[in-house]
Amino acid sequence: MEATACTKTEALAPCSSVVDGNFEEVPRETVIQFKPPLYRQRYQFVKNLVEQHEPKKVADLGCGDTSLLRLLKVNPCIELLVGVDINEDKLRWRGDTLAPFLGDFLKPRDLNLTITLYHGSVVERDSRLLGFDLITCIELIEHLDSGDLARFPEVVFGYLSPSMIVISTPNSEFNPLFPSVTFRDSDHKFEWTRMEFQTWALYVANRYDYSVEFTGVGEPPAGAENVGYCTQIGIFRKNGGKAMESCVSEQYDQHVYKAVFTTSYPSLQQERFFKLVLVNEVSQQVESLRVSHLPRQKKQDGEWGDKPKDSKAPCPCFGPVFTEVEKAKIENSPKPFCVGDKFFVPLQRLLAYPKLNRLCANEEMMRSVIADSIPLSSDGSAVVSDLRDYFDEQF
């Protein structure tokens, strides 16, 4: 979707049209209109669940055009994201949109992330989907014929056996509220009532030692509350949590899915990018300390943060804001100093800044990473730069 400003002056927040591709739905004259659209509510539901439980490995079975994966990939906790679908063309076509953004190379994630799309059927066993923390089957089961539906629990619950499974499916009790009487999609093999879904779910949960709780999205309109959510959702949790994980290694490899697309994100866990970010942050901090060390060119500017004389522009005071604790920590660290026309910033000082502290645990680590990119003092305890640089002469 693309947010569009209605008039010239109104702001338009840019959002990607290419990568952000949930297709706009065709407006139709129905009585029921969900806002946001129902499919987005389903995705949001999964997203909230992910934020709550912070799974590391997530798979979406029947991932279709990969919209859900695109929504989930921004989550910092996920390290492996897998989509499976039987429509290979669609995976191929949409796969590219899951690749890292250019910006991800400049501001890498904290943790590695790999995204893989497999072409295959959810009733086939592939060992690469073992040991997951969350497997989602959003509007999937109603597309399975009776044979596949019978095999489905055995594969997903019995074989893959992730810590958590989310299954959503239409609630047929809601259907009378729609103008058309038949199934919501021509490919649906069935649409269940709440009772039918829950009976199935409880049976499966019981059989494979999961507990299940039921909820849904798509609130019914006023007066029809008794039909329940438009989409019914079952959240299955494995009893005993991750006990199965030890078994994973014992399973022999079974690769039946075809990997159609795979991509790895740059992250701070990778040396190259860690160094890039650290060197950057250090030079940035040194630069900012250096500039504030220089005598002000125009004294009348007064202190940092004063109102500018030019009343047309409101005060452009921005930049990092520190808490009291952080301020105290910075204040108590060794101060930058000058020797001749050289400017020194002790590494200990740099480590006091929250941004750098987050990246780097200790002085030794910082020194070893930045040493060949940034000039250091002879004893290696401080960063050295020229007090004045080319740009200072420009203003």
Binding site: A11, L12, C15, V26, D96, D185, Q284, P316
Partner: protein, 814 residues
């Protein structure tokens, strides 16, 4: 032309088919088209076509080269290129379909999704922009009806109607090939920025300047002399390792608050930023200081939301600085509908700067660091190319894409060029055959220059501090002047305070009508070019302080001074007896970007050693053509004055031509030039040729030696295979690249009454590359072009007004 996409200051100027090893100051460093993420076909098909000047066919009108445009003189040399064969079956065709939807769908994305999702087309190679569909295999029926279902269960009928069958040589087909290759490069994990592709996972860092360089390629598929070829050249994208917010914060620290907003706008507006949450780039058109991330905007569905919430919801990004202003970018619409331009507000914290600010580009140390990182020897370049080709052939996804289209990536093209004979340099009483055409300063050290005015009445302005240096420089100057044949009398030396104002005041006070020349400092240039036209020479004390360099510096300066006084340094043999050569260059004024600075330089003697130079400021392209007429008339008058006749032949070298401007040149400029020539004479008028000169072009040529590739010898001409069939064009290598890869200069003869044989045209062009008096050696373009460039550069950067006509007979701008 640099191999580096350093900045993105101009959207229109076609970018990056760039690449030598040198960072040059012209053309704003490479330039990648900055229109945000233009990946779509319809627009591309249209633009690209103009951009490549595909529908301009000039050769068919030139009878003497209709059958053969290749020369034959010189020594043949085998060359490897950066061009590759694309093989496909003989009967290969592209099928163009038109697709309509019932009910009609406005959303292009939905249209594409429905079509791509349909099983009928699922295993076919296709390119689709929502309206036009291209297939490499014909559908059974001329009209195919399909139906698909939307997510909401609505049935949509798609009607696919065959419109055209296109042979592989058709321009439309070439565009589709380019789209296919763009798709393929994306599959190789490359990212498109502007027109080129970059690999951000292998960045090169320049930490001391906070820069990252992303290596990549400029690629294109085009129809060359006889077949479709894929060309690739190495390119780099410069990124700053900081967000716009960090940049602004640092800038604010430097400038203080009072002039911060102004400086900030000056620095940032026009730059291109990359947003963190998608792959798009935006040009900064304005900064809105009154909007904060906590303010709301209206989404398309009409709801209001704050920027903070929007980015949290949409991208899971937390904006940390709530006081930052907004960057404003004017969105260029993808289609030519008349909808109003839309503004996008961008959060500085989420934007990365690409390219360099003007200030950074003027930082010599920084540019040197960039040049060192990006310089590639011919063999290094060849290795990169091989890597790309290997990748293209091995990557299964890339190969799959090629195969479904029925294409096969073929071999690297080799061709035969010719090395034209080297030139002798004619001095006053000596003909010298330089050891190397790259630099003959040593060869002519003891020779007298052709002619020189003696320097009698002149001033030296210097500060107290530099008086000693000034005196020793003066001695040197007199000594080298003497051996050169340039008499330098003693000047009046004026000492003054070391600031520009003092210099200007002194200039105003002391420069009388009889003064010929003054030396030292800057900003007096303006006064001495406009208000009081006197040739001047500025020298930095730092330059003169270089140990042991005084003699060679003095020699260079003596030569420059001679030229500024109307002297002639050297010549080459010109077989045509009455030939005027003209150089034209155009660039934008540095202060007011809508002003075009047009520099024109014409030779006024048969020896091509004396020049008439004018610079004119204009606002539109038609005005440019008009001012060419004004200039030509002036130049012809001058010629008549000196030679008592009009030149039999005129050859115009036109540089500064943007992509897609050929048609304009042919329709406006050539007729204006012709009419000025016709009007200047009642009987037979001079014969005219117009040659477009481009320093940036896609092809590269290497010679193979001892299993490694090297730059071809100076004077190498290529006029086959890598040229275009519709044009009378050739490549000439007339510059030295040192450790980097040389880039050939491309010449396209768009108009030619002279009927010279291609051989003669090529050799004449080569001769003219020897005549630039600011450098005792070959240069990359004909001297008149370089003079015109130098003149426009001076005016666009420093003077911003038309220099006094009194200086027109001197090379005052050297």
């Amino acid at each position: 032309p640099p191999s580096v996409d350093l900045s993105n200051n101009e959207a229109s100027s076609g970018n990056g088919f760039v690449g030598t090893s040198r960072i040059s100051t012209n053309d704003k460093y490479g330039i990648s088209s900055c229109d945000a993420g233009s990946t779509f076909m319809e627009r591309d098909v249209k633009n690209k076509r103009d951009f490549m000047d595909l529908d301009v066919c000039t050769r068919e009108k030139l009878a003497h080269v209709r059958d053969c445009k290749t020369g034959s003189s010189g020594i043949p040399v085998k060359l490897v290129t950066n061009l590759f064969n694309l093989d496909f079956p003989q009967d290969w065709q592209l099928y163009q379909y038109h697709v309509t939807y019932l009910p009609d769908l406005a959303s292009r994305r939905l249209r594409i999704a429905l079509l791509y999702g349909h099983s009928k087309l699922s295993d076919k190679a296709k390119a689709f922009d929502g309206v036009m569909l291209f297939l490499s295999q014909k559908l059974e029926e001329k009209v195919t009806e399909l139906s698909s279902e939307t997510r909401r269960g609505e049935t949509v009928k798609m009607t696919i109607t065959l419109k055209r069958e296109l042979p592989s040589s058709s321009p439309m087909c070439i565009q589709v090939f380019n789209i296919i290759f763009r798709k393929i490069l994306k599959k190789l994990s490359m990212y498109q920025i502007g027109r080129n592709f970059y690999n951000p996972s292998e960045p090169m860092e320049i930490p001391q300047h906070k820069l990252s360089l992303w290596p990549g390629f400029a690629i294109s598929v085009s129809y060359f002399e006889s077949k479709l070829l894929f060309s690739a050249d190495v390119s780099y994208k410069v990124l700053r390792n900081e967000t716009v917010l960090e940049f602004m914060t640092a800038l604010c620290h430097r400038t203080g608050l009072s002039c911060f907003t102004q400086t900030c706008e000056k620095q940032l507006i026009g730059l291109v930023v990359l947003t963190r949450y998608n792959n798009r780039t935006y040009r900064i058109d304005d900064i809105d200081w009154s909007v904060r991330p906590t303010h709301t905007f209206q989404k398309r569905d009409g709801t209001e939301i704050t920027y903070v919430d929007y980015y949290k919801q949409q991208y899971d990004i937390t904006i940390s600085d709530l006081n930052q202003p907004m960057l404003v970018s004017l969105l260029r619409r993808k289609r030519d509908d008349n909808s109003e331009a839309q503004l996008a507000h961008l959060i500085p914290e989420l934007c990365f700067l690409t390219g360099l600010t003007e200030q950074a580009a003027s930082d010599f140390q920084l540019m040197k660091a960039v040049a060192e990182k990006t310089r590639l020897s011919p063999s290094g370049r060849q290795q990169r190319l091989a890597g790309l080709v290997d990748n293209l052939q091995r990557n299964t996804n890339a190969r799959f894409e090629l195969e479904t289209w029925g294409l096969h990536f073929g071999s690297q093209i080799s061709l035969t060029g010719r090395v034209v004979p080297s030139e002798k340099i004619l001095m006053q009483d000596h003909i010298c055959q330089p050891a190397s055409a790259a630099d003959w300063s040593k060869d002519i050290r003891t020779c007298k220059i052709l002619s020189a005015q003696s320097l009698n009445t002149w001033l030296i302005l210097c500060s107290d501090r530099t008086e000693y240096v000034a005196n020793s420089f003066l001695n040197c100057l007199r000594r080298v002047g003497d051996s050169m044949g340039f008499t330098v009398d003693y000047p009046k030396i004026i000492k003054l305070q070391e600031n520009p104002a003092a210099f200007v005041r002194a200039v105003q006070r002391h420069v009388g009508p009889d003064a010929q020349l003054t030396a030292y400092y800057d900003s007096i240039k303006k006064y001495l070019s406009l208000d009081y036209p006197v040739p001047s020479q500025c020298v930095l004390a730092r330059t003169l302080n270089k140990q042991g360099m005084m003699m060679s510096i003095a020699t260079k300066i003596a030569m420059q001074m001679t030229c500024k006084l109307g002297g002639e340094l050297w010549a080459v043999e010109i077989p045509l007896k009455s030939l005027m050569v003209v150089g034209i260059d155009v660039c934008k004024d540095a202060l007011s970007k809508d002003v075009m600075v047009v520099g024109c330089v014409a030779s006024v003697n048969p020896g091509i050693t004396r020049w008439f130079s004018r610079c004119i400021l204009q606002r539109t392209t038609t005005d440019v053509a008009d001012c060419l007429k004004v200039f030509m008339t002036g130049a012809l008058n001058k010629w008549y004055k000196y030679n008592h006749d009009l030149p039999a032949r005129i050859i115009v070298y036109r540089a500064g031509v943007g992509d897609g401007q050929l048609r304009t040149l042919i329709e406006y400029e050539v007729p204006q030039l012709l009419s000025s020539v016709a009007e200047s004479s009642s009987n037979a008028s001079s014969r005219l040729s117009v040659i477009v000169v481009r320093k940036r072009c896609m092809p590269r040529f290497f010679t193979e030696m001892n299993r490694t590739v090297q730059n071809p010898p100076l004077g190498t001409v290529v006029d086959s295979e890598a040229t275009r069939h519709e044009w009378y064009d050739f490549y000439l290598i007339s510059q030295v690249a040192g450790r980097g890869t040389v880039s050939p200069t491309y010449y396209n003869v768009i108009y030619d009454d002279n009927g010279l044989k291609p051989d003669h045209m090529q050799r004449l062009t080569f001769k003219l590359c020897h005549l630039y008096y600011n450098w005792p050696g070959l240069i990359s373009v004909p001297a008149p072009c370089q003079y015109a460039h130098k003149l426009t550069f001076l005016v666009a950067q420093s003077i911003h007004k038309e220099p006094s006509l009194e200086l027109a007979n001197f090379l005052f701008y050297l």
